[in-house]
């Protein structure tokens, strides 16, 4: 399906899960597609990065459910910080391990999973609906981390076939399989859609991806979107690293309303093709600038 077809399936008020981790393998093309719609009042469930920042800046988020929101090389997303400090969004902030327990509970269709993380901390204060659960085997009591079930999950992988069998080729699957399993619908964008038989076939270098790279099975995937560069400016190793220069430009622009308007105009107002063209011309300008300096 196309990016716009995908965006048309997301309705205001939905709860959406966004895969990846911080500023790593985020389904940024899918997020950019959402920015072009009039969808609002989303509840966003994520180990957040610039996906959160962009959606907050566009006023699309009613509630954020997160383990953290970080750009990795920059500790905090500026739009997220602004949204928190202005009280613009409701939040559910969890310990990272609690958050993962919530994803696992959702994937297993359980109401909750018990975890030690969160006990005696202000995570319980910040989430007054959280309950504990008594062990039937001892006197211990654990946090009953509620399932983080979503209406739709958005994930980005290296490759997939047209049926939705998804494959990651980097060092970390993050939690994308759990997002897919814990959602009513899952939209998978990827760098390349390939015939099924190519998923495990030797590549040009004679090496085949291991079977363990097949992360997400088609029965969990509703739609596949081919989006080369679809994680930019987050990392999608081994295809590409994080675009640190671009991320810095994003974070700098996010701190100033005028700069942010210019950023939006340049990168976010002209569709995914326009975005890629703008990113390429930016990189070319940076390279020629570097040449001039070294000349």
């Amino acid at each position: 399906m196309s990016l716009d077809d995908f965006a048309g399936t997301i309705e205001s008020g939905m709860t959406i899960g966004i895969g990846g981790w911080g500023s790593r393998r985020k389904p940024m093309a899918l997020v950019r597609a959402l920015l072009r719609t009039d969808v609002r009042d989303l509840t966003v469930v994520t180990l957040g990065g610039p996906d959160v920042g962009l959606l907050c800046a566009a006023g699309k988020v009613r509630k954020l459910v997160y383990g953290f929101v970080s750009l990795d090389s920059i500790p905090l997303d500026p739009h997220f910080r602004a949204a928190r400090e202005s009280g613009a969004v409701e939040i559910a902030e969890y310990d990272e391990g609690m958050y993962v327990a919530g994803l696992r509970a959702a994937a297993q269709r359980l109401d909750f999973l018990p975890t030690r993380a969160g006990l005696a901390s202000d995570v319980l204060t910040m989430n007054p609906d959280l309950r504990t659960v008594a062990s039937p085997y001892s006197d211990e009591e654990y946090v009953a981390m509620p399932a983080l079930r979503t209406d739709a999950a958005l994930i980005h992988l290296d490759r997939a076939d047209a049926a939705g069998n998804g494959q990651y080729l980097g060092p970390d699957p993050y939690f994308d399989d759990l997002y897919a399993m814990g959602a009513d619908r899952c939209y998978l964008s990827c760098e390349e859609v390939v015939p099924t038989e190519r998923l495990l076939a030797p590549g040009a270098d004679g090496r085949a991806a291991p079977v363990q790279s097949l992360l997400v099975g088609r029965m969990y995937v509703t739609g596949v979107i081919e989006a080369p560069g679809g994680a930019h400016f987050t990392s999608c190793a081994p295809a590409y690293e994080r675009d640190e220069a671009f991320q810095k430009e994003y974070a700098t622009a996010a701190k100033d309303p005028d700069a942010w308007r210019a950023f939006q105009e340049t990168y976010l107002s002209t569709g995914e093709d326009g975005y890629r063209a703008a990113v390429e011309s930016r990189a070319a300008a940076a390279a020629s600038g570097a040449n001039e300096r070294s000349a």
Partner: protein, 253 residues
Amino acid sequence: MTVEFTRAEVCIAAASDSWRGAGEVLAHAVGTVPVIGARLARLTHSPDLVLSDGEAFFMSEPPPLGRTAAHGGVIEAWVPFRGVFDVLQSGRRQSMMGASQLDRYGNQNISAIGDWRRPKRQLIGVRGAPGNTVNHRTNYWVARHSPKVFVERVDIVSGVGNDRARAAGGAALRFHDLGVVVTDLAVLDYAPDGALRIRSVHPGVTVEEVRRNTGFAIDGADATETRAPTPEELRLIREVIDPSSARAREVAG
């Protein structure tokens, strides 16, 4: 013969000592001094410590400081982020984390300053602090010892302190274990009542100076002097672990 050393090097030796006797566990270190300290521990008194590249791998030979397995070293195990939570819940891990605020009983805040509903200053969030502190030994590193960090009460309890763990009891207390707090001025530990006290002051620092920079009354009656790094430790820090002196950017002097 006296050996010259910097404040940062004293801090690194103290951080290294926090892993002494930890055994075959993952050394989780946040910050330059803790990362160098963990490597120093591994190269000296604690050869069984497990080190990670901060991303998806455990390393029998770590990559250059601040780099990942992609930049070198020898991988001994695959531990993607999901695996890290399995390790910490197993208890085979010991942390040295940072702290934006730390109170008398070792409650730590890295989440936000002010009311959590609308913070004056959003920080990095609770991250893994709640889970770390109730699952395995946790130490802290404070690069600038000041009354802004050492406060009477933290705004948001991210890492669980001794008073809170004891009041909750049960599963919250079972594996709760706060060790030391290493700062640029001193090494702190916890008295039997769970309150922070000054264990040692770094060479050139007075107990009075530490108390003046702590936002609550702190016992320093039994404070000794933090040990100096040995010549072998200084060689490892300067020539092997941190030849580009990243440590000087975190601790002046």
